[in-house]
Amino acid sequence: MLPLVAGDSGVRAWLIDEAVHLAVDPSDAESLMAVKAASAWAKEKDITLKIWPLLRELGNPAADVPIGDSQMERLKARRAKARAQYRALEDRRARDYVGLPSTFGLSPQSAKALAIWLRDTSLCRASMAGIWPELSEHLDTGSESIARPQPAEDNLDGAPSLDQVSEALGERGLYTTPAFLVGGHVLIGIGHLPLIEAIWLAKA
């Protein structure tokens, strides 16, 4: 177990350079896909991996565009519709990869419990490489799709709150999920594993 430092100063101490950090939203299929792929990759490459819950999503920046004329507003609406359709398509692909049914969905309580499980497991273990089979046990892939996280294996009194974890990740430039932090570099999206490996090897 890593040295336990209470509160938000603790999580900053845990964002160490000697690990690849992955920030995820446990209720999002794309994040679960990242956990599955990254944990298998880290195990194969013998890379130290930490997986943290990030519960503050950036939202859609397109919503900040000031209201324009009717032509612009029509364009914005059509683009938003196309983007939403595509996101649904990508969500389906991510579910297929992870093996989740189309009905999968976590209640806010289940998502929070899974976030706590991720936080506690990251704090307790030197690495979460190869964690996916264990984590997937906590996902009921049946029709009800209920997460069943187990209690942390160590006493984590004084662990940072989920808000403190998210705040610390945000301070390091992680503002959306899934995203990686390695050697001070922020990389958004699961597709960066080859570059992350190159960064990791360059550090070694």
């Binding site: 896909m33 792929a37 950036l58 939202g59 920046p61 397109a62 900040d64 565009v65 000031p66 324009g68 612009m72 364009l75 914005k76 059509r78 683009r79 196309a82 983007r83 359709q85 595509y86 398509l89 692909r93 990869y97 503002y175 922020v186 990389l187 958004i188 999206g189 699961i190 597709g191 960066h192 594993l193 080859p194 570059l195 190159a198």
Partner: protein, 228 residues
């Protein structure tokens, strides 16, 4: 058939360009390139950087971008730049939000008039590289015509095409692509599937190979560093 949507002002399309062209030789196909002109102001706001350093002031940025829009844009250029450098490409951030409709019409013209795939590729490579060196104005008819000429593509009739049929075709295409669910670049259309982003290149290749086994996961290609 593989159709690829691209836009010369997109940093992500820029760093994908060479990798996508490589599919042609690897699989012996001809990619159907289509222009998708991003209306950046409609989803990321607008901004223009005015360089006043000659008068001793700091550069000024004007526009309506929010903090989170800036966060996304800054990350996008930082991310694209590291992949560009990996390919030996220069990527300078544009100083304003461009309308690339004219350069897109140039692509339609180049597709029709190129005498070889190499000539089409030369035009596209030059358009991307020069734009990201801040040496190509994608909204300027004369600049597009000059670029076509520099790559050996005939420009006879281009001005009339760009101001008439070509622009009309391009704008109709933009409507059709948006209706089809295409909103960004690069986008790949293959086997009735849509893939947005170069992280899907491996999956596109998987389609070209006949979809053997499980589809590959998303992956941004990273070229191994070569020794000096």
């Amino acid at each position: 058939m593989l159709t690829v949507l691209t836009d010369f002002k997109s940093p992500y399309a820029f760093v994908a360009n060479e990798l996508i062209w490589a599919l042609e030789s690897r699989y012996g196909i001809e990619i159907n390139w289509l222009p998708l002109s991003l209306n950046i102001a409609s989803f990321a706001g607008s901004a223009t950087k005015t360089d006043t350093r000659t008068q001793g002031d700091k550069p000024q940025t004007q526009g309506n971008r929010s903090a989170r829009q800036w966060a996304v844009i800054r990350y996008a250029y930082m991310d694209a730049r590291r992949y560009a450098e990996n390919q030996g490409l220069t990527l300078k951030g544009p100083k304003t939000v461009w309308n690339s409709d004219m350069a897109c019409v140039g692509l339609l013209w180049a597709k029709e008039k190129s005498e070889s795939r190499a000539q089409l590729k030369s035009f596209m490579d030059s358009a991307f590289q020069r734009f990201f060196e801040r040496a190509f104005e994608v909204d300027n008819l004369d600049a597009v015509r000059a670029l076509l000429a520099s790559t050996g593509i005939t420009t006879s009739g281009f001005t009339e095409y760009a101001q008439g049929e070509g622009m009309a075709t391009h704008l109709e295409l933009q409507d059709a692509l948006l209706d089809q669910g295409c909103f960004g670049v690069p986008t790949f259309l293959i086997d009735d599937e849509i893939y947005f982003g170069r992280e899907h290149l491996a999956r596109v290749a998987w389609h070209l190979e006949g979809c053997p086994g499980a589809p590959p996961i998303k992956c941004y290609p990273w070229l191994p560093e070569t020794a000096e």
